[in-house]
C-alpha cells in the first residue's frame, strides 16, 4: 500500500494516472485548477503517458474529450462551477453519443455574486444530462470512485459518462492520507478501453446523424435502460474494489446507523462526514439518529430510500443548493421516491452551506433535534433555510 498525504485535487490527478487515461483536455477554473496542473506535471515528468490538449474553454474541453472517446481513447477532464455550466450542451452530447467520458467536478457556487466556495448547484443543474453522478465525502473516495466509474461507464451495455463531484476546498485543497493503489492492481481491475464501435478508417461508420421521430424515441429509451442497469454494475464494481482494497462503497446510498434510527438525515458530500460524527455523539446520548449519504445521485437509489423510510419516523434532507421555486433537488428526489411507497414519514428540507458556509457539528445537532421534534409533533414547515442571517445576529450564532 502506498499511502500519501494528498489534496483532493492531487488525488484526482493520481486517479487519472492510475486509470491510464489516454487523452486529457482541460481548462483551468478555481478550485479545480491544480488538478490540470498536476496532470500536466505528471505528463511533463514522464510519469503519465497521455495526450494533453490545452483547450481554450470548457466547452471545447468536453467536445475534444467526446471526440477522443469516440475515436477509441480513454478520455478525462475536470472542471467546476461556471466551467461545468459552459459544458452543458456537450454533457448532453456525451450521453447521446454513448461515450464513457469520466470527469471530476469540484462543486463550487455559481455567480453572481462571485463565490469560489462549496455549493452543489453546479452539478445539480446537470441532473438531466444523463451523466452518472457520484458525490464523495473524502479524498480516498475520489481516487477509488474515478477508477470504479471508468469500469462501469465503459461496460458495452452501459456506455454512459460519469461525473464525480468533490466539495470545493473541503476536499480540493485539503490534505488527507490517501492509498494510491499500485498500478498493476488497478490494471487488473480496469482493463484497457476497447469500445465496440469507434471512428476507424478500416470500418467507416457515421456517429450521431439525423434521426426521425420514428427512431429517436428508442435511442432515448436505450439510455434510460442503461442508466437503470448501471445501479447493479455500480454495486458490482464496488464489490470487486472492496475485495481488493477493503474499502466499502457497495451502497448507492451510504447508510450510517440507519437500521434502528427514529430519524434519518439525507444529504451529500463532505458535510455528511460531519453528520456521521454527530450521529455517534447523539447516539451516546441515547438519541436514535442516522445518516443516509447520497453517494450516487444518478442513477437515483429510490429503492434504498424506501428501505430507509420503512424504519424511520421522520426524514430530513440537507441540500447544499436550492432550486428556486421548489426546494433542494435531493429533497425533491427523496420525496418523489417515497410518494408511491406505503410508508411515508414526514420529510423536511434543510437548505444549508450555500457558497461554502461552514456546516458545523452544532448545526447538524440542531437539525437532528428539530427532526426529533417533527417526529413527535408533526411537520411544521417543508423548507428551512438553516442559519439564515437575521438582523443583529451575532457572528458566532451563524
Amino acid at each position: 500500500m502506498v499511502r500519501m498525504l494528498l489534496t483532493g485535487n492531487k488525488t484526482t490527478a493520481y486517479s487519472a494516472m492510475r486509470s491510464r487515461v489516454q487523452v486529457v483536455s482541460a481548462y483551468p477554473i478555481t478550485p479545480q485548477t491544480t488538478i490540470v496542473e498536476h496532470i500536466a506535471e505528471f505528463i511533463a515528468d514522464g510519469l503519465m503517458k497521455a495526450e494533453y490538449i490545452q483547450v481554450e474553454s470548457e466547452h471545447s474541453a468536453m467536445a475534444a474529450a467526446i471526440a477522443a472517446s469516440n475515436t477509441g481513447a480513454r478520455a478525462f477532464t475536470a472542471t467546476s462551477a461556471h466551467g461545468l455550466l459552459l459544458m452543458h450542451e456537450m454533457l448532453h452530447w456525451a450521453t447521446g453519443a454513448r461515450l464513457p467520458v469520466v470527469m471530476v467536478n469540484v462543486n463550487r457556487a455559481l455567480g453572481p455574486p462571485w463565490s469560489v466556495w462549496a455549493d452543489h448547484l453546479d452539478s445539480i443543474s446537470q441532473r438531466d444530462t444523463g451523466w452518472m453522478q457520484y458525490y464523495v465525502e473524502n479524498n480516498q473516495e475520489i481516487f477509488d470512485t474515478v477508477i470504479m466509474a471508468y469500469k462501469v461507464s465503459e461496460r458495452p451495455d452501459i456506455m454512459l459518462p460519469s461525473m464525480i463531484s468533490q466539495d470545493a476546498f473541503y476536499l480540493s485543497h485539503t490534505v488527507e492520507p490517501v492509498d494510491i493503489v499500485e498500478q498493476e492492481v488497478v490494471d487488473n481491475y480496469l482493463p484497457p478501453y476497447d469500445p465496440p464501435y469507434r471512428l476507424d478508417v478500416n470500418n467507416p461508420a457515421g456517429f450521431g446523424s439525423l434521426v426521425m421521430p420514428n427512431h429517436y424515441y428508442e435511442f432515448r429509451y436505450k439510455i434510460a435502460e442503461a442508466m437503470e442497469k448501471a445501479k447493479k454494475y455500480i454495486k458490482e464494481a464496488a464489490e470487486e474494489w472492496y475485495e481488493i482494497t477493503g474499502r466499502d462503497y457497495r451502497g448507492l446510498l451510504d447508510c450510517y446507523r440507519c437500521e434502528d434510527a427514529d430519524v434519518v438525515l439525507f444529504g451529500a458530500g463532505t458535510m455528511m462526514s460531519t453528520a456521521k460524527e454527530v450521529v455517534d455523539w447523539m447516539r451516546a446520548e441515547g438519541k436514535k439518529v442516522g445518516v443516509a449519504r447520497i453517494r450516487v445521485f444518478r442513477p437515483f437509489p429510490g429503492e434504498d430510500v424506501r428501505k430507509v423510510a420503512d424504519g424511520a419516523a421522520a426524514i430530513g434532507v440537507m441540500d447544499r443548493a436550492y432550486g428556486f421555486g421548489r426546494g433542494g433537488a435531493f429533497f425533491n428526489e427523496v420525496n418523489s421516491a417515497l410518494y408511491n411507497h406505503r410508508n411515508r414519514p414526514p420529510t423536511k428540507n434543510y437548505i444549508i452551506g450555500l457558497g461554502g458556509r461552514d456546516v458545523k457539528p452544532r448545526h447538524i445537532r440542531a437539525i437532528f433535534n428539530d427532526l426529533l421534534k417533527v417526529k413527535d409533533e408533526g411537520l411544521d414547515e417543508e423548507f428551512r433555510w438553516f442559519g439564515l442571517r437575521r438582523e443583529n445576529m451575532p457572528e458566532e450564532e451563524i
Binding site: Q22, V55, E56, S57, H59, S60, E89, L199, V201
Partner: protein, 303 residues
C-alpha cells in the same frame, strides 16, 4: 491527350439529401477524392450535418463524427489526439464546417486549434449564410446581400458589412497553410487539397460553394457562379504558405454585375449600390496583390 488530375476514387456515394445544385456536395466529393480513404471527418451543425442522410442511411464512405455547432476546432483536435494515443498516425483528420460554424459561433475553438497548430485540416465550406436554418446572415455574408435577417424592406436593411476575411484571420495565427478554393475550379481545388494533405500542422481551407436555395439562383448555374465569383474578384483564389501570400489565379476581370445579377439575393441593388460593392472588392483585390508582393520578401527568411 489531357492528363486527368482528379482522382477517380469516389468516397461519397449517391443519395445525399442536399438541394439541387448544392455546391457543398460537389465540394465534399472533390475533397474526399483528394484526401483518400484514410480520412476521418467531423461535421458540426450545418447543411452537411443533414446531407449524408437520415439514420441509418449514410452516403459517406469514410468515418464521420457529427459534433455540436461551435465545436469543430475542438472535435478534430480530440480525434487527432486519440489517434496519436492509439498509434494511428497516418490518418488525415478533417473538420468540415459551414461559414456560420466557422466565422461566427465556431471562431473560438477554431482560433484555439489554429494557435495550437493542431495537425488537422479545417474546411470552411462557404455558402455565405446560415442555410440549414433557412438563410440567415452570417459573418461571411457579403456586402449587399439579402438574407432573411437582412431583408431589403422599405429601409434597405440588406447586409451592410463585407465578408469576414477568414483566410487572413487564420493565417495571422502563423499556421503552415491557408487557402481559398472554389468548386468552379476543380483542378485548383484538388491540387490545394492534396497539398494540404501533405503538410503537417494546421491547414485551413476556405471553399466557395454556391447555394441556389439561399442565393435564389438557378441550380444549373452553380459551377458558373463559382467561376464568376473568382473572375469578378468577389472571391479571389489564393494561398498563404508559411506567411507567404500567392494569388493562385489572376484571371481576366469579368463584370461584377454579371455575377450579381444571376442571383436573386442581389436583385434589389441599384447600379449605384453595385458601384459601392465594386469599390470594396477592388480595394480588397489590391490589398491582396500588395500582400503577395510584400510577403514574397519573406521567402528569404524561410530559406
Amino acid at each position: 491527350m489531357v492528363k486527368l488530375t482528379i482522382p477517380e476514387i469516389e468516397l461519397m456515394s449517391p443519395g445525399h439529401t442536399g438541394c439541387q445544385g448544392c455546391g457543398a456536395t460537389i465540394a465534399m466529393r472533390y475533397a474526399l477524392k483528394a484526401l483518400g480513404e484514410k480520412t476521418i471527418v467531423s461535421i458540426p451543425a450545418c447543411c452537411w450535418a443533414v446531407m449524408p442522410g437520415v439514420w441509418p442511411n449514410n452516403c459517406m464512405r469514410v468515418p464521420l463524427l457529427y459534433t455540436a455547432f461551435e465545436t469543430t476546432g475542438a472535435s478534430i483536435s480530440g480525434i487527432k489526439a486519440a489517434l496519436r494515443a492509439l498509434g494511428e498516425e497516418d490518418v488525415t483528420v478533417m473538420g468540415w464546417a459551414g461559414d456560420g460554424g466557422t466565422a461566427d459561433i465556431g471562431m473560438q475553438a477554431l482560433s484555439a486549434a489554429a494557435e495550437r497548430n493542431e495537425d488537422v485540416i479545417y474546411v470552411m465550406y462557404d455558402n455565405e449564410a446560415y442555410m440549414n436554418t433557412g438563410i440567415q446572415r452570417s459573418g461571411a455574408t457579403p456586402l449587399g446581400a439579402w438574407t432573411t435577417t437582412t431583408p431589403v424592406g422599405k429601409t434597405k436593411f440588406w447586409e451592410r458589412r463585407p465578408k469576414k476575411p477568414m483566410v487572413d484571420i487564420v493565417a495571422a495565427h502563423k499556421v503552415p497553410y491557408a487557402a481559398t478554393l472554389s468548386i468552379g475550379y476543380p483542378e485548383d481545388f484538388v491540387k490545394k487539397m492534396k497539398k494540404a494533405k501533405e503538410i503537417s500542422g494546421f491547414r485551413f481551407l476556405h471553399i466557395y460553394s454556391p447555394c441556389p436555395t439561399g442565393w435564389k439562383s438557378p441550380p444549373q448555374y452553380t459551377p458558373k457562379l463559382a467561376k464568376l465569383a473568382v473572375t469578378s474578384r468577389a472571391f479571389p483564389l489564393y494561398e498563404v504558405e508559411e506567411g507567404i501570400y500567392r494569388v493562385t489565379m489572376k484571371p481576366k476581370k469579368t463584370p461584377l454585375k454579371e455575377y450579381l445579377m444571376l442571383q436573386g439575393r442581389f436583385r434589389h441593388l441599384t447600379d449605384e449600390d453595385m458601384k459601392e460593392l465594386e469599390r470594396d472588392i477592388e480595394r480588397r483585390w489590391k490589398e491582396l496583390l500588395l500582400k503577395e508582393e510584400m510577403t514574397a520578401k519573406l521567402e528569404e527568411l524561410n530559406e
